[in-house]
Amino acid sequence: MVNGDFAANLLGPPSPMASAPTGSLPVLRARGLTKIYRMGEVEVLALDGVDFSANAGEFDVILGPSGSGKSTFLNIVGGLDTPTSGDAWFLDHQLANADERALTRYRRDHVGFVFQFYNLVPSLTARENVKLVTEISRRPMRPEEALDLVGLSDRMNHFPAQLSGGEQQRVAIARAIAKRPDLLLCDEPTGALDSKTGVVVLEALTRVNAEFGTTTLVITHNVAIRGIAHRVINFANGRIASIETNQTRLPAAAISW
C-alpha cells in the first residue's frame, strides 16, 4: 500500500486539522476498533468501534475518565495489544492482525513509549537506559544527545534511584525519543509528578514534537494540559466522544495545575 491510498481508505468525516502541521498525511489510522476483555464470566467492552486518524507531526492530548478506553486505544496503536475487531494501520503496517514478531518489530522501529511509572531499568544509569534502546535501533541519536534534549546532560551517569521523579520521567522520554520514533505514545506521563516537574516533562515532549515532527499522543486525566495540543480527543464509554482543535496552542510553560 502506498501513501496515496490512505485518503481513499479513510472513513468518517475528515479530521479538522486547522492548527496541525499543514500538508502532512495521516500516519496513524484506525477504523472500527473494538476491544472486548473477557474476565471470567463477564465481558467488558473497552473499545467500541473507534475511528481515528492522526497526521504526521501532530500533538494530540487524549482526555477521558478511567475506563473510557483511552489506554486500550493507545496500547493497540502502540502495538502492545491487538483489537477484538476493527483495523489499525501505521503507514503501511497493519496492526490489527499482526503477529507477535511483527508487533515487536513495529515497536522497535517506530514507537516510543512513556508511562506514568517511568519503568527505567534500575541497574542501568540514565545514559545506559537510553543506550539500551539506541543499541537496537536503525537510526538512533546518540544517548547524550537524547538526554541533552530533555535537559539531563549533567545527570547522565546517575542511576534511577539517584534521580527525582521528574528526572526519571525525562530519562524515560529521552529513552523513548532516542530511536527517532515516528510515534511517541505517553500514558499519563505527568500523573506521578507535581505541577512544576510535570511542566518540565511536558516541555520536553513539545520540544521533541516540534524539533523532530514526531506524532505524539498523550493520555492524561489532567484537563490543564489540553492547551498544549493541536487536537484534544475526548474518550467516553469506549468511544471518541468529541475532538476539539486548538486554534492556538499554549506553550507548556504557560500551564500549571
Binding site: 519503568n119 541497574s123 542501568l124 529513552r175
Partner: protein, 786 residues
C-alpha cells in the same frame, strides 16, 4: 490466626512449583539419610542376628592335620567358649551345562548338632551317611546352577569322581560373600560350598579322627590376640597356618567394607542436600517477604505482633519441610527396602531384618526442619520487626553501583543487557554465591561418584590387560613338582604355559605382621607382570621380595628394608628377606618373589602351585574336556569369564547408582536454578516488560534471565570440579582398606558428564521459566507501581 493460616495455604498453592522444587531437595536429603543409614542398620542388624543365631566363630585357622583330641586342648585355652574342628577341602566339580570345570569347597558336617558356623537349611534335609554321597549346597551356587534337592553333580574327591546328590540348600554365616579362594569377586555358578557328612569326608581324604580347620568362639571380653598366639603355638606342630580373627575372614571383611561405604555415603550426601535446601528457603522467603512488605506493615498496624508475623513465615517453611520430609520418608523407605533386598540377594542372608531405629526418622525430620528454619530466620528477622509505618512504605529502591566505579579500563562497549545481568548478579552477591555453590555441589556429587566408573575400568585394565595377562589359570589342588608344568603344556589348546607358586606367609616388621599370599614366578615369565606406579614393568629380583604398596605402608617398610618372613607351610623357620621394590596393586596385601629364590628360601625341591596358560581360542572345548578327564590336575579359571562376570556385576551396580545420583544431582541443580530464575523474574519482571515495550523480542528479553542462569551454572563448574575432586578423594580414603584400594582416576569424561547433567537440569528449569516470560503481561506490569 485463622485468616493468616488461610493466607499461608494460598501462598503455598500460588508458589507450588517453587515449594515443590525446594521440598524435593529436602526429600532427597531425607531419603539419602534413610536409605543410607536405614540400609546400613538393616544389614548390620541382619548380620548381627545371623552371626548370633548361627554361632559364627571369632577365630579361624587352617592346618595340615591334627588329631581331634587336640580340640580339647584348644578348648581349654583361657577365654575360649567353644571350639569346632572340621575338614575343609577344595575339589574340582563337573557341572551339567557348564563347559569349564567348576570347583567346590567341601566342608565336613558333624553327626550331631554343629557347634559353630551353623547352617541355615533353606530347603530339603541334611545329608545322611550310607545313602551314597549326599551333600547340602550353598544357596547362591544352587540358584546359579539350578540345583534343587535331588539334583546331582560330579565332584572329584581325592582323585576319584563321585556323583553327589543334593539333599538340601543351605546358607552359612561363613559364606555370606562366597568367593573362590584366590579370586576377588563372588564367582556364583563356578564356585559353591558343599556340606558333606564328616565321616564320609574323613574317609575320603584319609583324615579319620583328624581335622584340618578349627573355628573358635570366644568368651565376651576375651582378648583375641593372646588366644591367637596360644592357638598358633598349639597348632604349630600340626602345620597350623596361623589363626586369624573375623577381621581377616574373607566374607566378613568384604561385607564390612560394603557397610562402611554405605555409612560413608550417608554421612556425605544428606548435609549437601540440607545445605542447598536451607539456601533455597532463605532465598525464596527473602523475596516473598520483600513482596509482602506492605502487607506486613498492614498486619502490624492491625495489631499483629512481630512474633506472630515471624511465626507466620516460619510456618510457611515448616510446611515445606514437612512436605519434603514426608516425601523423603516415603521414597527413603521404599528405596531403602529395595536396596536391602538387593543386598540380601547379592549376599546370602537367611532372613532380612528391616531395622530402622525410629530415632533415625526423628533425626531426619529434625535436621531437615532445623536447616530450613535456620534458612528462614535471617529472611524473617529483618521484616517482622520493622515498625508498621516503615513497613507500609515501599522499600527503598535498590541502589546499584557502576562496575569499577564507571572507569572501564578495557574500554569494552558491552551491550546494556550484559550490564543489566552483571549488575543484577553483583547486587545480590550472597544469593549469586549461594546459587553458584548450590550448582557446584550438584556437579560435585556427580564428579565425586562418577569417577568410580573410570577407576573400576582402570582397575580392570590394570589387572586383566597389564598385570595378569594369562588367558586362564590352572590351579593344582596342592603343590606339585615343577615337572607338572609340562603336563599342563601338553594339554590341547595350550599355547604357552608359565608356572607359579603361591605360599601363605606371615610377614613381619617390628611388631606389625600380616598373613599374605606370596606369589612366585619364573624370571622368564611374561604373562604375569608386576608394575610400578607409572605402569613400568618391575623385574623380579634374583633375591628378595617385591611387595604391594599397601603392605609396605602397613608394615612401615621401604625398599631396602628387611622383613621377617615365616612360611605357613613346610619349613616354618623365620627368614630375613630384603624388600627390593614396591608394586602398585589394588586388591589386598601381596608379596612377590622369583620362583627360584623361593625354592632356595624354602630349601626344598622345586614345587609349583599352578600354571598360567595362553589358550588357543578355537580349542577351548578340547581343553575343558581334557581337564574334566584328568580332574586330579586341578581347577581352571578363565580370564574372559572372570572379566565378563566382573563387568556384569559392576554394570548392574553402576547402572542403579548412576541413575540415583544423576537424579539427585538433577534435583539440586533444578531446584537451585528454578528458584533463582523465579526470584530473578519476580524482581526483574518489570524491567523485562519495559524491554518488551521498547521493542525487544521475547528471545532477547529471555536472555536476560537465561544468561544469568548460564553465568551461575558456568561459574559453578570449576568449583564443582574442585569440590568433586575432594569428594572423590574423601571417598577413596574411606573405601581404602587393607584388602581393597581404589585408584583415583579422574578422566576428562567425568567432568564432561557431570557438567552435562548439571547443564541439562539448568536448561530444563530455564526452559520452564522462559515460558513464564513469554506469558508476561507487559501492560499490566507497566501500569502498576512496584
Amino acid at each position: 490466626m485463622h485468616a493468616l493460616l488461610l493466607k499461608l495455604l494460598r501462598e503455598l498453592r500460588r508458589l507450588w512449583a517453587q515449594v515443590a522444587s525446594i521440598a524435593l531437595v529436602m526429600a532427597a536429603g531425607v531419603a539419602t539419610l534413610i536409605i543410607g543409614i536405614g540400609t546400613y542398620q538393616s544389614l548390620a542388624q541382619t548380620r548381627a542376628e545371623y552371626y548370633a543365631n548361627h554361632n559364627f566363630a571369632d577365630i579361624f585357622v587352617s592346618l595340615a592335620r591334627a588329631p581331634r583330641s587336640l580340640l580339647n586342648e584348644i578348648g581349654a585355652i583361657d577365654g575360649v567358649l567353644a571350639v569346632d574342628g572340621r575338614i575343609l577341602r577344595l575339589a574340582p566339580a563337573d557341572i551339567e551345562g557348564l563347559e569349564e570345570p567348576a570347583s567346590v569347597l567341601l566342608i565336613s558336617l558333624p553327626d550331631g548338632a554343629q557347634a559353630l558356623n551353623k547352617l541355615y537349611l533353606r530347603s530339603g534335609r541334611l545329608p545322611e551317611l550310607g545313602r551314597g554321597t549326599e551333600a547340602v549346597v550353598s544357596e547362591v551356587f544352587a540358584k546359579a546352577r539350578d540345583l534343587i534337592p535331588g539334583s546331582r553333580l560330579d565332584v572329584v574327591m581325592n582323585g576319584t569322581l563321585r556323583a553327589v546328590t543334593i539333599t538340601g540348600i543351605a546358607l552359612s554365616p561363613e559364606y555370606i560373600y562366597a568367593m573362590t579362594p584366590g579370586e576377588v569377586m563372588p564367582s556364583e555358578g563356578r564356585f559353591g560350598v558343599l556340606w558333606v557328612p564328616a565321616d564320609l569326608l574323613a574317609a575320603t581324604y584319609d583324615l579319620q579322627g583328624a581335622f584340618n580347620t578349627v573355628s573358635l568362639k570366644l568368651l565376651p571380653g576375651a582378648s583375641p590376640a593372646t588366644i591367637i598366639a596360644d592357638v598358633d603355638q598349639l597348632l604349630a606342630p600340626y602345620g597350623g597356618q596361623g589363626a586369624y580373627g573375623r577381621d581377616q575372614q574373607t566374607s566378613h571383611t568384604f561385607l564390612d567394607a560394603e557397610l562402611t561405604q554405605l555409612r560413608g555415603m550417608s554421612a556425605v550426601l544428606p548435609p549437601i542436600f540440607l545445605l542447598v535446601a536451607a539456601f533455597l528457603v532463605n532465598m525464596t522467603l527473602t523475596r516473598l517477604i520483600a513482596l509482602e512488605r506492605e502487607q506486613i506493615g498492614l498486619l502490624k498496624a492491625l495489631g499483629y505482633s512481630s512474633l506472630a508475623i515471624a511465626w507466620h513465615y516460619v510456618e510457611f517453611v515448616l510446611l515445606i519441610s514437612i512436605l519434603g520430609t514426608a516425601a523423603g520418608y516415603g521414597f527413603g523407605i521404599w528405596a531403602g527396602n529395595g536396596l536391602t533386598v538387593l543386598y540380601a540377594q547379592y549376599y546370602s542372608f537367611p532372613v532380612l531384618v528391616f531395622s530402622r531405629d525410629p530415632v533415625l526418622y526423628v533425626i531426619a525430620a529434625a535436621i531437615t526442619i532445623g536447616a530450613a528454619v535456620l534458612g528462614a530466620i535471617s529472611a524473617v528477622r529483618k521484616a517482622a520487626w520493622l515498625p508498621p509505618a516503615v513497613a507500609m512504605l515501599p522499600a527503598a529502591p535498590p541502589v546499584y553501583r557502576q562496575l569499577l566505579r564507571g572507569r572501564n579500563p578495557i574500554v569494552v562497549d558491552a551491550p546494556q543487557t550484559w550490564i543489566i545481568i552483571a549488575r543484577h548478579l553483583l547486587h545480590w552477591p550472597w544469593r549469586t554465591a549461594g546459587g553458584v555453590v548450590g550448582m557446584a555441589l550438584a556437579a560435585a556429587i556427580l564428579v565425586g561418584s562418577l569417577w568410580s566408573i573410570g577407576a573400576i575400568n582402570y582397575m580392570v585394565d590394570y589387572t586383566f590387560n597389564r598385570t595378569e595377562r594369562q588367558d586362564a589359570t590352572i590351579s593344582f589342588l596342592g603343590p606339585r613338582p615343577a615337572a607338572a608344568l609340562y603336563e599342563v603344556a601338553r594339554l590341547p589348546g595350550v599355547m604357552a604355559a608359565e608356572p607359579f607358586r603361591t605360599v601363605g606367609i606371615e610377614i613381619r616388621s617390628g611388631h606389625v605382621s600380616r598373613r599374605v599370599g606370596l606369589s612366585a614366578y619364573a624370571a622368564t615369565n611374561d604373562q604375569t607382570r608386576l608394575l610400578d606406579a607409572h605402569l613400568g614393568r618391575i623385574a623380579l629380583p634374583e633375591q628378595g621380595l617385591i611387595i604391594s604398596r599397601t603392605l609396605a605402608r602397613v608394615l612401615g617398610v621401604r625398599p631396602g628394608d628387611t622383613v621377617e618372613v615365616k612360611p605357613l607351610e613346610g619349613d616354618r623357620r623365620v627368614r630375613l628377606v630384603t624388600v627390593h621394590g614396591l608394586v602398585e596393586g589394588y586388591l589386598g596385601l601381596a608379596a612377590y618373589m622369583d620362583l627360584n629364590a623361593l625354592h632356595e628360601m624354602l630349601d626344598r625341591m622345586p614345587l609349583i602351585s599352578g600354571v598360567n596358560v595362553e589358550i588357543d581360542e578355537s580349542r577351548h572345548s578340547d581343553l575343558f574336556a581334557a581337564l574334566k578327564a584328568t580332574p586330579a590336575l586341578g581347577m581352571i579359571s578363565l580370564r574372559s569369564v572372570a572379566l565378563d562376570r566382573f563387568r556384569q556385576t559392576m554394570a548392574q551396580n553402576m547402572f542403579v547408582m548412576i541413575g540415583v545420583l544423576v537424579a539427585m544431582a538433577g534435583v539440586i541443580a533444578f531446584g537451585v536454578v528454578y528458584n533463582l530464575a523465579r526470584i530473578s523474574l519476580s524482581e526483574q519482571g518489570r524491567e523485562m516488560a519495559s524491554l518488551r515495550v521498547l521493542g525487544f523480542s521475547r528471545g532477547e528479553v529471555s536472555m536476560l534471565l537465561l544468561a544469568e542462569i548460564a553465568v551461575v551454572t558456568l561459574l559453578a563448574q570449576p568449583l564443582g570440579w574442585i569440590l568433586g575432586y575432594w569428594l572423590a578423594l574423601a571417598m577413596v580414603s574411606s573405601f581404602s582398606s587393607e584388602i581393597f584400594t581404589m585408584p583415583l582416576v579422574l578422566g576428562p569424561e567425568v567432568f564432561v558428564y557431570s557438567t552435562g547433567v548439571v547443564i541439562a537440569a539448568a536448561a530444563l528449569s530455564g526452559f520452564i521459566v522462559r515460558r513464564r516470560i513469554d506469558r508476561l503481561d507487559m501492560i499490566a506490569v507497566l501500569k502498576t507501581r512496584e
